[in-house]
């Protein structure tokens, strides 16, 4: 199965994507991650204003299979959370790169290890089987 990995995004080893626009960024989980998790039933969102270091745990997603921590790919301060996920967590499954976004942040210095779409797709291939 081929998973979507939009080329304009960057990716983390823990399967988050990040769209960096100036000093702001949007973060969600990848198509591969939503597929591996299965149907998402609950999303634990951070408070607006909370600050995290690169690779800090900023929330969790719970599916029928398991609960998994969410890691912030770069350091930053939460400026918005996707409130729609509270009642419709399935948006993460339906549209992981669009309506299923999780948080918006103001990026702080201290970038984590990010991958390009190609590098991430290759990485997913190595762990898939």
């Amino acid at each position: 199965m081929a998973f979507k990995t939009p080329t304009e995004l960057q990716y983390s080893k823990t399967h988050e994507w990040i769209r960096i626009e100036g000093d702001e960024a949007t973060v969600g989980i990848t198509d591969y991650a939503q597929d591996a998790l299965g149907d998402v039933v609950y999303v634990d969102l951070p408070e607006v204003g909370a600050r995290f270091e690169a690779n800090g745990v900023f929330g969790a997603v719970e599916s029928v299979k398991a609960a998994s921590d969410l890691y912030l790919p770069v350091a930053g301060e939460i400026i918005a959370v996707n409130e729609a996920l509270v009642n419709n967590p399935e948006l993460i499954n339906k549209d992981p790169y669009g309506e299923g976004w999780i948080v918006k942040i103001r990026v702080a210095p201290g970038v984590g290890a990010l991958m390009s779409a190609d590098a991430y797709a290759a990485y997913v291939d190595t762990i898939k089987h």
Binding site: A36, G38, A66, E90, I127
Partner: protein, 518 residues
């Protein structure tokens, strides 16, 4: 077969009655007004006795239980519980004992507790045991609270972190968090052990403890356990042992001798007291002499000879009421350890479970306990050897009492562990634990236990192999499963997102209109 059993509320008819109350033999009086409910109780079911009995009997006959099938739930140790243990627990001297009848009248029960403390201590290599906690998770919390009390007692207030391997039971990080600690995850290495490099990096003067399960949740013996213990102790931390997987090492290895400071025993797993809906559980705990003063109260000890000192691990205040006559030398009494963290459970813990565990240990003896573990490990390896060429082993090593395979079938990539587990129900077997441990994609965690015969193990393996063939031929067979059960595949997503936790006639009517049968 009549497939659908409605909720008991829907079997109700006004005025039907299932119990005969005795004649009033005291003057009748009204309840005080402030105790009366304002809302009416309409909706409580009214049925005759045979209707009630048949309703619950029909439901019970649909049970997938250890008395009807092998339950291979990994990490749960669903061994068969001998009916002899039930007989012992029902002896009137135990079953009818009252927790407030006093030590004089409870000597038999206290002797049993005292001996069980000693047996569990001997089996695990610990100096002191408390039988109080009601289940494994409560045993964990007890242990971490004891650790906290120990560190504080030494004036060591800087230890705010508890290390937990990424393969741990979810209760471990939950325990540490509830006890007020920051949880720090430690990675596993390629052989499924704690990654020593990562452990070294994460140990510090902030480390209060490491919580370790051995064998771990991959069903593997922690190969560096003594080194792990040394590193944790060197950093000033304590080593907690999650005893969930104790069934693999009875009579072979003592956790106390491996360097653990504290562990809980799941009496309801390892020592055959009922669980999985039948419970209640019992999460007795054992520890080193250094931690004994902090154990929860009450523990049981023998009254020493006049002028003779109490053993170090039994020092503390007698719980005999003030003014009660002294018990004779050698009698059993309850006491509170010197620096106890307090009670974690009312009265004597789940006493009925203690009777069953005592009976199990005494009826099979030391040699029998060792044979339990040897057979449990052999059975798991047999299942692993028969299945791993089709269901890949997460880590291809000789396993302990359970094996973690993966529901990744080369011939049917669209099939998931979930589908395989559902199909197994059609073959008459309870599915194994799935999607745990979290570090293994599509995990199928199988713990056959020592009480299954080779014939049953073969039938179980044959079923899983037949399912793999079905998957290759027609994956839809698995996607539709189960097909032989009163209700088919459940909508787990909806159940998680919109749980219906109580009977409401309008909600049930709406579900029926949607075509949902129950």
């Amino acid at each position: 077969m009549h497939n659908h059993e409605p909720p008991i509320f829907e079997l109700s008819g006004p005025g039907k009655i299932g119990v005969n109350l005795p004649q009033i033999d005291v003057p009748q009086s009204e309840l005080p007004a402030d105790l009366l409910r304002a809302d009416d109780l309409a909706g409580l079911p009214e049925l005759t006795e045979p209707e009630v009995i048949r309703h619950y009997t029909r439901i019970s006959q649909r049970n997938f239980a250890i008395d009807t099938t092998m339950v291979s739930l990994g990490s749960c140790t669903m061994k068969y519980n001998s009916k002899f243990h039930e007989e012992a627990a029902r002896l009137p001297g135990f079953a009818a004992a009252h927790p407030l009848q006093g030590d004089e009248l409870s000597q038999g029960a206290l002797q049993l507790m005292y001996e069980l403390q000693a047996y569990l201590g001997e089996i695990s290599g610990f100096d002191a045991v408390s039988l109080q906690p009601a289940a494994g998770a409560q045993g964990e919390l007890t242990g971490i609270l004891v650790f906290r009390a120990y560190h504080r007692d030494r004036g060591d207030h800087e230890r705010v972190e508890v290390l937990v391997p990424d393969s741990a039971h979810g209760t471990n990080p939950a325990t540490a968090a509830i006890a007020g600690y920051r949880v720090v995850e430690v990675k596993s290495d390629a052989r499924g052990n704690v990654d020593l490099e990562d452990l070294r990096r994460k140990l510090s003067p902030r480390t209060a403890a490491l919580m370790l399960t051995n064998p771990n949740t991959l069903g593997l013996f922690e190969e560096h356990v003594t080194e792990v213990a040394r590193l944790v102790h060197e950093a000033g931390g304590l080593l907690y042992g999650d005893g969930a997987n104790f069934n693999a090492i009875l009579g072979i290895v003592k956790p106390g001798e491996l360097g653990f400071d504290f562990m809980h025993y799941n009496l309801h797993k390892t020592f055959t007291t009922p669980h999985g809906g039948g419970g209640p559980g019992s999460g007795a705990v054992g520890c080193t002499a250094a931690l004994a003063p902090f154990l929860p109260t009450p523990r049981v000890r023998r009254v020493p000879r006049e002028g003779e000192p109490l053993p170090l691990t039994e020092r503390g205040v007698s719980l005999r009421p003030a003014g009660a006559p002294a018990l004779p030398e050698g009698a059993y009494e309850l006491f509170a350890p010197e620096k106890t963290i307090g009670r974690v459970k009312t009265f004597h813990g789940n006493f009925g479970m203690l009777v069953r565990a005592w009976t199990y240990i005494r009826s099979i003896g030391a040699a029998g306990l060792r044979r339990v573990s040897e057979t449990a490990v052999l059975n798991a390896n047999y299942v692993q050897a028969r299945l791993k060429h089709v269901y890949p082993a997460a880590i291809d090593r000789t396993c302990m009492h359970e094996t973690v395979l993966q529901g990744k079938l080369a011939a049917a990539p669209e099939v998931r562990t979930f589908d395989i587990a559902k199909r197994l129900i059609d073959y008459g077997f309870h599915p194994p634990t799935v999607y745990f441990p979290l570090i293994v994609p599509e995990a199928l965690m199988i713990e056959p236990t020592e009480t299954e015969s080779k014939r049953t193990l073969d039938a179980f393996c044959d079923a899983l192999l037949a399912i793999a063939e079905e998957a290759a031929r027609d994956p839809e067979i698995l996607k539709r499963a189960p097909t032989t059960t009163p209700v088919r595949r459940l909508d787990e997503v909806r159940a998680a997102r919109q749980p219906i936790l109580r009977y409401d006639p309008t909600v049930f009517a709406r579900l029926r209109e949607e075509g949902i049968r129950f």
